[in-house]
């Protein structure tokens, strides 16, 4: 074999390997065929527990299992047992589509709980629409799910990218910084969420200017060049849409460069990232997130935290809390509708008032977005829980930051 041919072969195999590694784990759980009217109700959790966003998938799985067990312990939904199928979409949109299709067509699930990655979510939502199967998003939050790609079977229990970006701008509007830089992962979520922040910030604080924007790849391993190029632009403050493994890597490399002493910084410092960082967490930076367990003050959250810790020996992250809410919303909707069938369920859930772990929320009719808040606070040491959490917590109500109904209908193209 000649070397040229061999090298070419090598490249081909590496590419095949890449695709293959993304597809190698399909099923991680099993399920039985459900009858339409009686017997167990099948539902599927399709999430990402490998790949760049894997940190959050595990929390999703834990919480959804717990929610389903609780439903079954209380006699099931409509007196029928709930049977959970768990699938791993591996942060891969194509795999997500395939798994969603299988779950709907072969396992005949009544509902799907969505993935971590927004890229996977956008691919999966089309399958749900084509097959008229309700899909509940809790962790992936790109706005297109409730706007451009919205369909009547899609629901969102997390704050979407617009709410998150706008909420952060409101929380930071009184900060004295004029020169802002932005660092966001180069995909759906990173661009939409940081643009929402930039737009709102410009509106609230016309003096603020954006001096630098950088978009590292999702899963970037070396941020040094990005950090030095941000610092070279001499910003006062840096807005980050980094999260999970990327945020851990960024934080460690930024710390070595004295980044946190030079600029104000905020990013998605949620429970999973702060506990992964431990003593390496940059105290004093501003974190934002969607459901920090210690920031929530409702009667429902205390027993939830206690049971979650009992089961998994760890504190529930934001991604656990929201995934749990998604399951409980679905169950409440089914009880209200009196059937698991999609169309009556959708009718029951439009305008539905639901007591989530984060407090009472409404599912807005126009885009099925839950009126959930966005949270932020200062990262501080916390000896009691064993990893850093926040103080000076602010929560901005969802109704204050979501798109107006006119904006939504315009984007939905109706």
């Amino acid at each position: 074999m000649k070397l040229r041919k061999q090298t070419f072969l090598l490249v081909v195999v590496v590419l095949i390997g890449l695709l293959g590694s993304a597809c190698n784990r399909g099923a991680v759980g099993g399920g039985e065929q459900a009858a339409d009217e009686e017997g167990p109700i099948d539902v599927a959790l399709i999430t990402d527990s490998a790949g760049a966003t894997s940190l959050f998938g595990v929390s999703n799985i834990n919480a959804v299992k717990m929610a389903v067990d609780e439903l079954n312990a209380d006699g099931g939904v409509l007196d029928r047992e709930v049977n959970l199928l768990v699938r791993d979409s591996n942060s891969d949109p194509e795999l997500g589509v395939k798994l969603a299709r299988e779950a709907i067509l072969e396992d005949e699930v009544s509902a799907i709980f969505g993935p971590v990655s927004s890229a996977v979510a956008v691919a999966m939502t089309d399958v749900a629409e084509q097959n008229q199967t309700p899909i509940f998003f809790h962790t992936s939050n790109t706005q297109t799910l409730t706007a451009e790609n919205f369909h009547k079977y899609a629901f969102q229990v997390g704050p979407n990218t617009t709410m998150e970006g706008r909420g952060n701008a409101i929380a930071l509007q009184d900060e004295p910084y004029k020169r802002w830089a932005v660092i966001a992962p180069d995909y759906e979520f990173g661009h939409l969420q940081s643009e929402a922040f930039i737009t709102k910030m410009a509106e609230l604080n016309p003096d603020a200017e954006i001096v630098k924007k950088v978009y590292p790849a999702l899963g970037e391993k070396d941020f040094t060049s990005f950090i030095t190029s941000i610092l070279a632009a001499k910003p006062d403050a840096v807005y980050g849409a980094l999260f999970a493994g990327d945020l851990v890597t960024f934080t460690k490399q930024a710390q070595d460069l004295g980044f946190f002493d030079k600029v104000f910084f905020t990013s998605l410092y949620e429970t999973d990232s702060l506990s992964a960082l431990g003593n390496d967490a940059p105290l004093g930076v501003r974190g934002y997130s969607r459901a920090p367990f210690y920031a929530i003050d409702t009667p429902e959250i205390e027993p939830f935290i206690a049971e979650y810790r009992e089961r998994y020996d760890t504190y529930p992250s934001d991604w656990a809390i929201m995934a749990y809410d998604a399951v409980k919303l679905w169950a409440a909707g089914v009880e209200e509708a009196g059937t698991v069938e999609a169309d009556p369920l959708v009718d029951a859930l439009e305008g539905f008032e639901f007591t989530s772990l984060r407090g009472p929320v409404t599912i807005r009719e126009v885009d099925h977005q839950a009126s959930v808040p966005v949270y932020s606070g200062i990262v501080t040491e916390n000896k009691e829980v064993g990893f850093p959490t926040w103080t000076d917590i602010e929560s901005i109500p969802g109704e204050e930051v979501w798109l107006s109904e006119e904006e939504v209908t315009q984007l939905q193209g109706n």
């Binding site: 074999m1 000649k2 070397l3 040229r4 061999q6 090298t7 070419f8 072969l9 090598l10 490249v11 195999v13 590496v14 390997g17 890449l18 293959g20 590694s21 190698n24 527990s49 490998a50 790949g51 760049a52 894997s54 940190l55 998938g57 595990v58 180069d186 950088v214 978009y215 590292p216 790849a217 899963g219 391993k221 070396d222 040094t224 060049s225 990005f226 030095t228 190029s229 070279a232 999970a244 493994g245 990327d246 851990v248 890597t249 460690k252 490399q253 710390q255 070595d256 460069l257 004295g258 999973d272 992964a276 960082l277 431990g278 003593n279 390496d280």
Partner: protein, 293 residues
């Protein structure tokens, strides 16, 4: 771009290059002697990082990195020996395609083993106090840890050069690169030599994984991410050549670092463009070995 920005960016590139060199040198060494393209090389790197994470957690961050590097190198070398004796030895006379498939199988197995042992969540490894922070460099500041990576890479390069050029083992390795059958003919135990070379390559991957751990998030997916870059390096530099790995790593590291500054969204493309050009003009790479007769 001011001078200090230029220097910082250059050093950041060299630090990435240092890491890529340690990984690619092992990959290249194995190919040179065994003529096996080891897709699982990145998996050995990931294994090294996870082992280092466990050792540092056990020993503490103050001095944890030193035992972590040693344990990672030894343990990964042992895994390498098992792979060579258990799998590759049976495939030397087979087609390259079969060897690729076998090492790709190892990629999948190691990924699942790592997930089984350490779970899917990311880990953060604390660096020793004296390697934290940054030092002044031409008016800018540069992380000490990145300098440390460059230093380890230089030491690994020097050590490898000494082994290959100044020891009897190195003499055998050089001979095996040219003609293993002749080497067997003069009484050298070639299959044992191959095991040693593979273990050496694996140890380099383990060391690279261990030293990268404190500067990044240790998680699944590190294997694929590094192997793609390492192949870019070896394709540019030429498979089988340590010098090629050095030059290739420097080119890729620096192109990446300046690419980010000049055109962030094209940085990755620069590397693959360089790879395509080298493949078109000199398919064996800049310093690549000719095919064995």
């Amino acid at each position: 771009m001011t001078l200090d920005e230029f220097v910082i960016q250059l050093m950041a590139g060299l630090s990435r290059a240092g890491l890529l060199f340690i990984v690619s040198a092992g990959l290249s060494l194995v190919f040179g002697a065994l003529r096996v393209i080891n897709l699982a090389h990145g998996s050995l790197y990931m294994l090294g990082a996870f082992v280092a994470a466990s050792v540092v957690t056990k020993v503490g961050s103050a001095i944890g990195l030193l035992p972590a590097v040693v344990v990672a190198a030894v343990l990964v070398a042992v895994v390498g020996v098992a792979i060579e004796i258990g799998i590759l030895r049976r495939l030397y006379r087979q087609e390259h395609l079969l060897q690729l498939l076998a090492t790709y199988g190892v990629v999948l197995v190691i990924a699942d083993v790592v997930r089984y042992i350490w779970g899917p969540t990311n880990r953060s490894v604390a660096a020793p106090e004296f390697l934290r922070g940054s030092i002044g460099l031409m008016g800018g500041s540069f992380p000490i840890y990145s300098l440390f990576i460059i230093a380890v890479a230089l030491a690994a390069g020097a050590g490898l050069w000494l082994v290959v050029n100044r020891t009897s083992l190195g003499r055998d390795i050089r001979a095996a690169i040219v003609d293993p059958e002749m080497l067997a003919g003069v009484g050298v135990n070639v299959s044992r030599l191959f095991t040693i070379v593979f273990a050496l390559g694996a140890a380099l991957a383990g060391i690279a994984g261990a030293i990268v751990a404190p500067s990044t998030a240790v998680g699944l997916g590190m294997d694929i991410e590094i192997i793609i870059e390492a192949f870019a390096v070896t394709i540019i530099g030429g498979l089988g050549s340590i010098t090629g790995a050095l030059i290739g790593a420097a080119l890729v590291g620096i192109a990446d670092s300046f690419g980010i500054l000049l055109a962030p969204r094209l940085a990755v493309a620069f590397i693959f463009l360089a790879m395509a050009i080298v493949l078109a003009i000199k398919p064996s790479g800049l310093f690549g070995l000719p095919e064995r007769a």
